[in-house]
């Protein structure tokens, strides 16, 4: 807007905006804790991941909540700590709890979360906006832990459905060496079984050469096989996966953690009003919004939506509201999002993207579910041991 200067705007706003505010005021304080362990050196380090992934999403959600809150006399504040060790993250969690914070968003590994949940009292509600481990949704259940980050199996089920509906049923799986790679690959193997895919080759990544020089020579040999429809890569930290596309033995597409990927969020998602969220985020952070940002944003917006409805910020009441049929989160994914009442996972569609475009969005037509089609992604109630509301 060139002709209306910001100053003019500000003056006008002071003049024109004196919306009557409800008498009672409410302050909602939310803790954000981030600890992302060092991924180790990776081969594909050309485009580094932002270090504030997650934090900036939390900040945007606080600002979104506050805009709504000002009409209701509610203010939101974020107390954030980006820790450099697990101990520091846990210490910050303890300190914030001592100071009276009851609502938390945590972007940290599953082990750290488990430790925090073991120490948290009944009056602490935590949103997992980082760990994708299926164990947190199937066995390591905590009644006050909700997950806005999708699990590995939600992501790989999205990919599995897509491969199935493309009839690309035979795949070549390459798995990296880390625990996360194994978690992703295990989830994919389960998805393959669910959606009738055959893993014709299942090879671990063992090479240690610098692929920037030799990818074209090494990968064709590595991906030799009788035939397959697609190559699936499980390389969560982005070590070698970027070098797989165009270097396969057979002329086949690459999908998985690289190539075309199932993600929580990506800058190419623009439908359903997402273009507005993307531009708001870019204005705030000066970069594109990613999956960690989205998960943290969704967590704090879930709190905000509940506080708007409840007019209080009691963690127990928020928890009850989040699991009630009154809760619905408008989160730019084309449908209302709700929490699974057995394990606290946020149901959500999963976009399948390549770096510059959206390919498709799961769940797909034809994959049916009696309750919600979104429950065709990830561990459904009968497949999970969690019963955090029973």
């Amino acid at each position: 807007m060139s002709f209306l200067s910001r100053t003019a705007t500000a003056t006008l706003i002071t003049l024109a905006c004196s919306a009557p505010i409800q008498a009672e005021s409410l302050e909602v304080s939310i803790g954000y804790l981030q600890w992302v362990p060092d991924q180790g050196p990776v081969l594909s380090n050309v485009l580094p991941e932002p270090e504030d992934a997650g934090l900036r999403g939390a900040e945007l959600a606080i600002s979104d909540n506050s805009t709504t809150g000002k009409f209701l006399g509610q203010t939101y504040s974020l107390n954030s700590e980006v820790a450099d060790s697990e101990e520091a993250a846990i210490a910050a969690f303890e300190a914030m709890r001592q100071d009276g914070t009851e609502l938390f968003v945590v972007n940290a590994p599953a082990g750290t979360l488990n430790t925090m949940m073991a120490r948290a009292g009944d009056n602490t509600l935590v949103f997992n906006a980082g760990a994708k481990d299926d164990a947190l949704r199937t066995g390591q259940c905590h009644s006050n832990l909700l997950h806005t980050m999708p699990s590995y199996s939600m992501l790989t089920d999205a990919l599995g459905q897509w491969l199935n509906q493309r009839r690309w049923n035979e795949v070549f799986l390459i798995t990296g060496p880390t625990e996360a790679d194994k978690g992703w690959a295990d989830a994919f193997r389960r998805s393959a079984q669910r959606f009738g895919l055959e893993i014709v080759e299942d090879k671990p990544w063992t090479f240690e050469a610098d692929l920037r020089r030799t990818a074209s020579k090494e990968l064709p040999l590595f991906t030799q096989g009788s035939d397959y429809d697609a190559v699936v890569v499980a390389d969560v930290r982005g070590d070698f996966g970027e070098y797989v596309p165009f270097n396969t033995w057979l002329p086949r597409p690459v999908v998985g953690t690289q190539g075309m990927s199932p993600v929580t969020w990506h800058r190419v998602v623009e439908s359903w009003g997402a273009a507005q969220l993307q531009s708001r985020f870019r204005d705030l952070a000066g970069r594109d919004m990613n999956s960690e940002d989205y998960a943290a944003w969704a967590a704090i917006r879930s709190i905000g939506t509940s506080v708007t409805a409840l007019s209080n910020a009691n963690p127990g009441e928020i928890r009850n509201f989040l699991f009630s049929d009154k809760f619905q989160l408008a989160a730019f994914k084309g449908r209302k999002l709700t929490f699974r009442n057995w394990n606290g996972q946020l149901r959500q569609p999963i976009p399948l993207v390549h770096p510059r475009g959206l390919v498709a969005r799961a769940p797909f037509e034809g994959f049916l579910h009696p309750e919600s089609k979104m429950d065709t992604l990830g561990f459904d109630r009968p497949e999970s041991d969690c019963r955090i509301n029973d």
């Binding site: 807007m1 002709f3 209306l4 003019a8 705007t9 006008l12 706003i13 003049l15 024109a16 905006c17 004196s18 919306a19 009557p20 979104d64 805009t67 709504t68 000002k70 009409f71 209701l72 009003g273 507005q276 531009s279 708001r280 204005d283 917006r301 939506t305 708007t308 409805a309 619905q328 989160l329 408008a330 084309g334 449908r335 209302k336 919600s372 089609k373 979104m374």
Partner: protein
Amino acid sequence: MKTLFKQTALAAMIGLSTPALASLAYVSNEKDNTLSIIDTETQEVVDTIDVGARPRGILLSKDHSKLYICASDDDTVQVLDLATRKIVDTLPSGEDPEQFALHPNDKHLYIANEDDAIVTVVDVSNKDVLAQIDVGIEPEGMAVSPDGKWAVNTSETTSMLHWINTETFEIEKNIVVGQRPRHVEFSKDSKIAWASAEIGGTVHIIDVDNLEQIHEMSFKVPGVNQDRVQPVGIELTSDGKYAFVALGPSNHVAVVDAETYEVLDYLLVGARVWQLDLDKDEKHLYTTNGVSGDVSVIDVEDLKVIKSIKVGRYPWGVVIDPSS
């Protein structure tokens, strides 16, 4: 060159044949940066004209001589002269204008600035910005009551209806509704306002005298998953008989009894139906179908879909000029 020729030829034709042409419908194509013009008699596209980037909300001046177009990505409101089909002016609109509404005084244009969480009020006669009013996040729907008393804005992420006093430009009431409110439509007598909530899947009926919700409607389209039932556009017949509600990706328009709020029928239209408008004598309802890139025509008497007309990519708004 081709378009230019067509435009000139058409302009010439209009010049020769006025007023023989039937009333025209204007459709904004969000992803084509064009406007499709449909002859409502033949129900065919007679012209496509280039407009600004990402055209969304469109509306007619009270004398039907001009069409205002929200060119969202150009951060402006364009003024299209309907006789010449040329953009003759632009208005200061604030950033990312999405929807707007014109006050009955034909002067005050209320514009929702989606990226800035404000509503801008512009005097179209002299382009003065009269006010910028702070509202919730992603202001979208805009409506002014026919009696001119209220301007209502919906903010999508805040999920509120903001009631703006048109004399003071101040918000007097905020009503929390379902998630992602998109559109407000007033009854002709300004007594009732209908507001759609896209993600909530609801339509909220507001008693304007008391500024209170008196009813909340929900929809169940047979054979369609409930998540896909997403109300957006609303159109009311002036006899107070029907309300038509566009239900987005359920690809249906609900026909509602405007007195009892009972859903009478669901009509299958194109994919992701967004906005609606009735033609001159309210015999036909035109709907924009974003994903299928077409306009469906509904016969209001028979409540049947009778035609679909291919337009540009992502048709967003539709306005029918009753006088053309």
